[in-house]
Amino acid sequence: MPKLLHKEKLADNITLIKVAAPRIAKNAQPGQFVVLRVSDKGERVPLTIAETDPAKGEVTIIFQKVGATTKVLDTMKVGDELVNLLGPLGAPAHIKKLGTVVVIGGGVGIAEILPAIKAYRAVGNKVITIIGARCTDLLILKDKIEKESDELHIITDDGSCGRKGFVSDILKEMIEGNVKMDLVFAVGPVPMMEVISNITKPLNLKTIVSLNPIMLDATGMCGVCRVIVGGHTKFGCVDGPEFDGHLVDFVDLKNRLSTYKTEEKQAEEHVCKILGVKI
């Protein structure tokens, strides 16, 4: 079973782990994810692959504590083993040299933008990063993101880290300021991705969103991850997770994501009780 090789706290709620998974490390490409379980009775949870080291056979995952499984994962120590780890899953991202790429991460998305920033930059793009987060969400992660980006804007909804507002405010200002942009990549809460896509659509500014529909097997077998893209049903786990933001039916996605709201809370309370951690 895949062993935890390294663990590092990046922010209050965000943790980086390295796991031994030689085959995944060898074949993973940017944009892909893994599914893992933390106990025999656990759920299958998808998490973005942040980085891989094929030579060492290591896979890096950065996750935010947002549900039952990630809460348990955060209690694991170096040397502990995951019950399952499957990957790499999903379609690889189409990373091309386009010029200037604006990478936007908000909320749960900030744990996931680092690999995108690196990948777009690696092929020669200028990367402008916009993150929406509270100060406590950033800590070390901020330095890492800053190091990889050509330009970084931080905005918080409570004003705890300088400016108060939404990531979309910065994007709008950039548009008004005629900043040259060739692609927008957004990951985070669905309403945020929706707002961003609505801003860029009239401008015909290509926008990629990384979606997080509910998943189960994550191998294309159950269809729970179905999303409507351009009027067609797509499976988030095999056709995604990245889609053209201008074509995604966000209303449908939001509705489907709310299916297990009550149960998600219940599961979290259940594991927290077992682990003796507070929610």
Binding site: R23, I24, N27, R37, S39, K41, G42, E43, R44, A68, T69, V83, N84, L85, L86, G87, P88, L89, L216, D217, T219, G220, M221, C222, G223, V224, R226, I228, T233, V238, D252, N255, R256, S258, T259, Y260, E263, E264, Q266, A267, E269, H270, V271
Partner: protein
């Protein structure tokens, strides 16, 4: 008296009682029943039943052992040809295979071969003491490596056959448990997972190296398998792609594919939420669309999860239903309603996005279609609405497209089936396939037959000059 074949003599739990839990429904025949049934077999010199069995079990021979009271020897005989007898004894449609051609069936009741198979396998599992795993064998350290992809019925059979031929077999499974459809699809009350676990364990005892969490095509490519020294590959990834109805409203909350529903229930044990962390939600009024075994399973699981009313909605008549007759009977006994000659046309939701109503169109039977069954024709203007809060779509699955997508050298039919030659070899030399990945959704036993044939062909292929 041809329909005698469907009369169930096996003791089973009362419907009122069994719908309260997920424990097994059919209890197995007693020793006395088994011996008496076995003694009815006239031991044909040229037995038709063996020809009716895709894995060619020596049926008269194992029945003779039961008749003599040598249950252990009977189980051994079964396992010579079938590594999964306790599973087959439960889920094979014997009425369409061996029992259908039993000579006794011509004038009366055929031998209940399936019951006897289950009896012998169960006896071995529960009664036998001492060495349970006599088959473990030593293999030369340089035994050639073979890769089997998918641990469902086809893959398990192929892997066990190859191991018996002396190969070093790796069996790759993408999910976190082995068994494929036996684990995620067929419910506990029809096939206890403990039995699947033990039969898989038996196959491992033959020397098969089971590797979970490996999605071939993603975790490792077919080419990489060859690069790692595997001499031949069997693809048995099954028919995992759920078909949807393509009607408006199908994405509303409360609409499941049968696969999703059954995976939540069987594989993830959603009925034990939150102890098991994956939830499954069931409404008061459930409509299951389709009438195959999967539909019956979904309907009966719904009842057990606490639905008040479960209805099978099917666009043809009872005669055309693809499910096994005994499963349809059991569903009826448990109180499942059947609305026949009806097809859903639209799903409507409430203000929170949950399913509330389904519109159906009435049908009548017209001319036979390509399947030979009379085609359902819509009756114009017959639309009406029914109240439902859960819909489970069980109108079939198609072959899993993931592997052919990952390696476009694999040629497929338009509907997704992997194209193979008469030896089961795909368009990549040395890569074989079988089971539902080739046939589309079929039966456990036909998949096992394919796995077995493929093992023979792979053995021949590896040893042929190239």
């Amino acid at each position: 008296m041809t329909d005698d074949i469907n009369k169930r003599i096996m003791p089973e739990r009362e419907a009122d009682n069994r719908i309260k839990d997920f424990e097994e429904v059919a209890l197995g025949i007693s020793t006395e029943q088994a011996v008496a049934e076995a003694k009815r077999c006239i031991q044909c010199k040229k037995p038709f039943c063996v020809k009716g069995c895709p894995v060619e079990i020596d049926i008269p021979a194992f029945i003779l052992e039961i008749a003599k009271g040598n249950f252990d020897a009977a189980a051994k005989k079964l396992k010579e040809k079938n590594a999964l007898p306790a599973i087959c004894g439960r889920v094979c449609p014997q009425e369409d295979q061996c029992e259908k051609v039993c000579i006794l069936g011509k004038k009366g009741t055929p031998i209940r071969i399936g019951y006897l198979e289950r009896f012998a396998a169960d006896w071995e599992r529960t009664q036998k003491t001492g060495d349970q795993r006599p088959e473990t064998r030593d293999r030369p350290p340089d035994a050639p490596k073979m890769a089997v992809v998918g641990s469902g019925p086809a893959g398990l059979t192929c892997a066990s056959e190859l191991a018996r031929k002396g190969y070093a077999v790796s069996l790759f499974e993408s999910l976190h448990l082995p068994g494929g459809v036996l684990s995620y699809g067929i419910p506990e009350f029809r096939l206890p997972k403990e039995i699947v676990r033990l039969e898989v364990e038996y196959i491992q005892s033959l020397g098969v190296d089971l590797q979970l969490d490996v999605l071939v095509g993603k975790t490792i490519t077919i080419q990489q398998l060859f690069d790692e020294g595997y001499k031949s590959v069997f693809l048995g990834a099954g028919a995992g792609l759920p078909r949807f109805m393509r009607v408006p409203g199908e994405n509303l909350k409360g609409v499941y594919s049968a696969n999703e529903f059954l995976v939540r229930v069987n594989l993830m044990k959603g009925y034990k939420f939150p102890e098991y962390m994956t939830p499954v939600k069931i409404g008061k009024k459930v409509a299951v669309i389709g009438a195959g075994n999967v539909a019956m399973d979904a309907a009966r699981c719904s009842l057990r999860l606490g639905a008040d009313e479960v209805t099978i909605v099917y666009r043809r008549t009872e005669k055309e239903m693809p499910a096994r007759i005994e499963e349809i009977e059991r569903a009826k006994e448990e109180g499942i309603k059947f609305v026949l000659l009806n097809a859903p046309t639209e799903v409507f939701g409430d203000e929170n996005g949950w399913v509330k109503e389904m519109e159906c169109l009435k049908m009548e039977l017209g001319e036979p279609d390509s399947s030979g069954r009379r085609r359902p024709v819509p009756i114009e203007g017959s639309e009406y609405k029914i109240q439902v809060d859960t819909i489970i779509v069980a109108i079939g699955q198609t072959p899993n497209p993931l592997i052919p997508h990952a390696d476009p050298r694999i040629k497929t039919e338009k509907w997704g089936g992997v194209i193979v030659d008469d030896k089961g070899m795909s368009s990549i030399p040395g890569v074989f396939s079988g089971g539902d990945l080739v046939r589309g959704a079929a039966t456990v036993i036909s998949a096992m037959g394919d796995g077995k044939q493929a093992a023979i062909a792979m053995d021949a292929w590896v040893n042929s000059p190239k």
